[in-house]
């Protein structure tokens, strides 16, 4: 059995297979729900209602999608250049740390919010720059270094929260002091948790799309990812392109931390991210690394999480079903995208 590339995949082929993947995912989820002893159709319905069934639910989904857009973009940008950034989690926390450093009284006035965003991006960029410098100088595998950086960063955050950044009024809880009001992202809708971080995430997605498709840097990033030998031969500065990609990717992931601290939590704690940096990989892959697709994929993933939470409260099916759903969605989607481009011959 072999795979032969399909020269011109038809529209039906390109839409049919991903559509089929979605159907397969839903069927598997229903089977799992049945296995857990619940009515599969009710469970499915409750996930959908829980995700988008009310204004509150829909805004909550958008809210949950916001950090995933940032980390998804960070990973899409890096993976497009074949830079395997697995450390979005660390970069996100770096951004969160800078936001707290600048936002708890060190600065005041209207500039504190944009300045903390810039500082967060710089910190996230630096966190990724280290491993990428090691990669281009010495050939150190960035998968390992960026992944391990996540653990270093979590422990570092733990130290900060027990030491220099510990909230003196925190009754001993490991969390930082609260941001001053000027450092908080305002809400889009009064009374609901959705904040302007979502707007910034949308702008970031469009900006990344613009850079990738309209600029020389974007052309270089795609070329370096698609064929580094040809890019080098054509005179592209491959190392510099990888370093620039690292700065952009790290900066985007860090904005995720900035937006969670300034928009949602208002302080730094060690449970700021329930794995946004890793889930961003799923988001980016589901989006086929397309920056605008990242927004759609982030909404889908966030919807599954938010919906599953609601469903779990009502139907007594564990929320782990959300992880199963996302994992199978990714696997089915990867398979479907391959089948859309290749034909199986015996």
């Amino acid at each position: 059995m072999r795979l032969e590339p399909v020269a011109h995949p038809s529209l039906a082929r390109r839409l049919g297979y991903p559509g089929g993947a979605l159907v397969a995912t839903v069927l598997l989820a229903m089977a799992l729900a049945a296995l857990a002893g619940a009515d599969p159709f009710a469970v499915l319905g409750q996930i959908v209602v829980g995700a988008v069934g009310s204004k509150f639910a829909a805004l909550e989904t958008l809210n949950r999608a916001t950090p995933l857009v940032f980390t998804g973009l960070a990973i899409a940008v890096a993976f497009r250049a074949k830079l395997w950034n697995i450390g979005a989690e660390a970069q996100l926390y770096a951004g969160a740390i800078m936001t707290v450093l600048l936002g708890t009284g060190a600065l005041g006035g209207p500039l504190v919010l944009p300045l903390s965003a810039l500082a967060a991006m710089a910190a996230g960029a630096l966190v990724l720059l280290g491993p990428v410098v090691l990669k281009v100088r010495f050939g150190v595998d960035e998968v390992v270094t960026t992944l391990l950086f996540n653990f270093i960063m979590i422990l570092f955050v733990g130290y900060l929260l027990e030491g220099p950044l510990k909230d003196p009024m925190g009754m001993g809880w490991p969390k930082s002091a609260a941001l001053i009001p000027e450092a908080r992202l305002p809400r889009i809708v009064d009374g609901l948790r959705l904040h302007w971080g979502f707007g910034v995430a949308l702008i970031a997605a469009v900006a990344v799309w613009f850079v990738q498709t309209r600029t020389t840097l974007g052309f270089e990033m795609r070329a370096v990812g698609a064929n580094p030998a040809a890019a080098r031969f054509a005179g592209m500065p491959v190392r510099a392109v990888l370093l620039k990609t690292a700065l952009i990717s790290g900066g985007l992931a860090a904005l995720g931390g900035w937006s969670e601290v300034a928009g949602v939590k208002g302080h730094l704690s060690a449970d700021l991210s329930p794995g946004f940096g890793y889930t961003g990989i799923i988001v980016a892959m589901l989006a086929m690394l397309h920056p605008l697709g990242v927004v759609v994929a982030a909404l889908f993933v966030a919807g599954v999480f938010v919906g599953s939470d609601a469903m779990s409260r009502a139907a007594q099916v564990p929320t782990y079903i959300a992880d199963m759903l996302l994992a199978s969605a990714l696997l089915f989607m990867v398979l479907a995208l391959m089948l859309a481009r290749f034909r199986v011959v015996r």
């Binding site: 020389t216 974007g218 052309f219 795609r222 070329a223 030998a229 890019a231 080098r232 031969f233």
Partner: protein, 502 residues
């Protein structure tokens, strides 16, 4: 022959289609015991497809294969191996980090028997080496062997598996004329011992020299099956290309000033290379691949810098040197491997056409001017006859010839003063070869200094005004057109002239 020797292999009306292309159209051939059969045809005539079917890599749409009287199961490489058919591919399938012996026994031993039988295997290999004139050290690591030695290992591998039929795919493409002679001696020993050989080639003089019968393929069909002793080179050539090809007469170039000069250059595998590329002249570089041609190409193309020695362009010493500097200095580069370094498979034709000039010609303030990129590519595919569906097509879908025409166009559009053409026609069909050669000559006549690197001696000798030979990282003195024949260049390729000169 009165008493016909037994038939060992027969292919009966093999047909294979790839989409609309008929790669093999009812191809039949018969191989007898102790016979050398040449499979002759241009690139793309269907030779490799046919052998891939025989070897189970493809399944024929119709037709049957019989080996030693038994039908061969289609689609299973193991069937061919166990039937006693051994194949020596054009691109070797050896593990560089293993020894010769390990490579030969690889895949023949059981999962848990490693270590045992090594001595026995060693003895058998030594015996086969002696019987077939294939000298190679069984303990040597394959990574350190020359191309000729690797080929011997491949043949030994087949013989070790008791192959009774040897198939060699373009075996001389990587050999010096002298090494090729040694290979032919081995093949004669093999047929004398009752083996049969299929010899795939497009080189007429070799076919005439070694083969008993010759099957000529054209566009997937058998156009002739002749006994070599009763035919001529001209007749075979006519069959191969379909009509008498007039020998192209190329007017000599008018040599101008020196555009590029190397003197005493060391870099990578190069030792003390001296070279002058003159305007209006094609300088040919002959030699067996792997003797430093890639390093020299890398040096001139901006991918490497000299460690020591003089490197001048237009009389000015080259200091900063990268691909980008090379392009800026007017060096147009046709890379050796159009798939790996020449193009980006998933990019469109337009993007590939702008790969070297996107920043200098098609961008302002860091923003790409895609409209200009597309119109440039549209002009280019017309001017260089690139057959495609449009400039937004991905380049991976183009044939090698059309891909090469695009690369050629990309280079020539910049009107480079120096052209580095590294294996510019490798793997192309006759039409594309004529196109590429025509354009290179036109560029020469317009005043470009051309360096032509090729493994094909006929190509180098036909096109070049001056020929150098490269061997073991050294460059021979220049030989003007017509002052050296094949045999003379072959001696230099084998490294002899260098010893005599020293």
């Amino acid at each position: 022959m009165s008493d016909a020797p037994s038939v060992v292999l027969s292919l009966d009306r093999i047909t294979k289609r790839f989409g609309g292309l008929v790669a093999n159209d009812a191809v039949s051939l018969t191989l007898h015991k102790g016979e050398v059969l040449a499979l002759l045809g241009e690139n793309g005539a269907g030779k490799t497809t046919l052998m891939n079917i025989l070897f189970g890599h493809y399944v024929a749409d119709s037709g049957e294969v019989h080996a030693f009287g038994k039908p061969l199961a289609p689609g299973t490489p193991r069937a061919a191996l166990s039937a006693g058919i051994g194949m020596v591919h054009q691109h070797f399938t050896l593990c560089d980090n293993l020894s010769v012996l390990e490579n030969i026994v690889l895949g023949t031993e059981g999962l848990f028997s490693f270590g045992r039988g090594r001595a026995a295997a060693g003895m058998r290999i030594a015996e086969l080496s002696r019987d077939f004139g294939l000298s190679v050290d069984p303990e040597a690591t394959v990574g350190g062997l020359s191309v000729g030695e690797r080929q011997r290992v491949e043949i030994l591998k087949a013989l070790f598996r008791h192959a009774r039929i040897l198939i060699l795919d373009e075996p001389t493409a990587v050999l010096t004329p002298q090494e090729a002679e040694a290979l032919f001696a081995t093949l004669r020993l093999a047929v004398a011992r009752g083996l049969s050989v299929i010899f795939i080639s497009h080189k007429l003089h070799e076919v005439m020299g070694i083969a008993d019968t010759c099957v000529v393929l054209r566009h997937g069909r058998v156009v002739g099956c002749v006994v070599t002793s009763r035919t001529s080179r001209a007749a075979l050539a006519a069959m191969m290309v379909g009509a008498e090809m007039p020998e192209r007469q190329i007017a000599p170039g008018v040599a101008g000033r020196v555009r590029l000069r190397l003197d005493g250059v060391r870099a990578g595998g190069l030792s003390g290379v001296g070279l002058q590329l003159r305007a209006g002249q094609i300088t040919g570089l002959a030699g067996v691949s792997g003797n430093g041609q890639s390093q020299l190409a890398a040096l001139i193309g901006g991918e490497a810098v000299p460690e020591t020695g003089l490197f001048e362009i237009d009389g000015a010493r080259v200091t900063a040197w990268t691909p980008r500097f090379a392009i800026a200095a007017g060096v147009g580069r046709i890379p050796e491997d159009r798939h790996k370094t020449g193009t980006i498979a998933d990019f469109t034709l337009a993007e590939n056409a702008a790969l070297e000039t996107y920043a200098t010609r098609f961008a302002r303030g860091g923003l790409m001017d895609w409209a200009a990129v597309h119109s440039h590519a549209s002009d280019l595919i017309v001017a260089h006859d690139v057959r495609c569906e449009g400039v937004s097509q991905r380049i991976r879908l183009l044939s090698g010839g059309n891909m090469q025409k695009l690369i050629l166009g990309r280079v020539l559009e910049e009107e480079p003063g120096i052209i580095l053409a590294n294996q510019p026609v490798r793997g192309l069909d006759v039409g594309a070869i004529a196109h590429v050669h025509g354009r290179l000559i036109a560029a020469r006549d317009a005043g470009a200094a051309v360096l032509l690197i090729s493994e094909d001696l006929d190509e180098v000798m036909g096109l070049s005004d001056v020929v150098h030979v490269m061997s073991a990282g050294k460059l021979s003195p220049p030989f003007a057109r017509g002052t050296m024949d094949r045999a003379g260049l072959g001696l230099w390729m084998a490294g002899q002239g260098f010893c005599d000169a020293a």
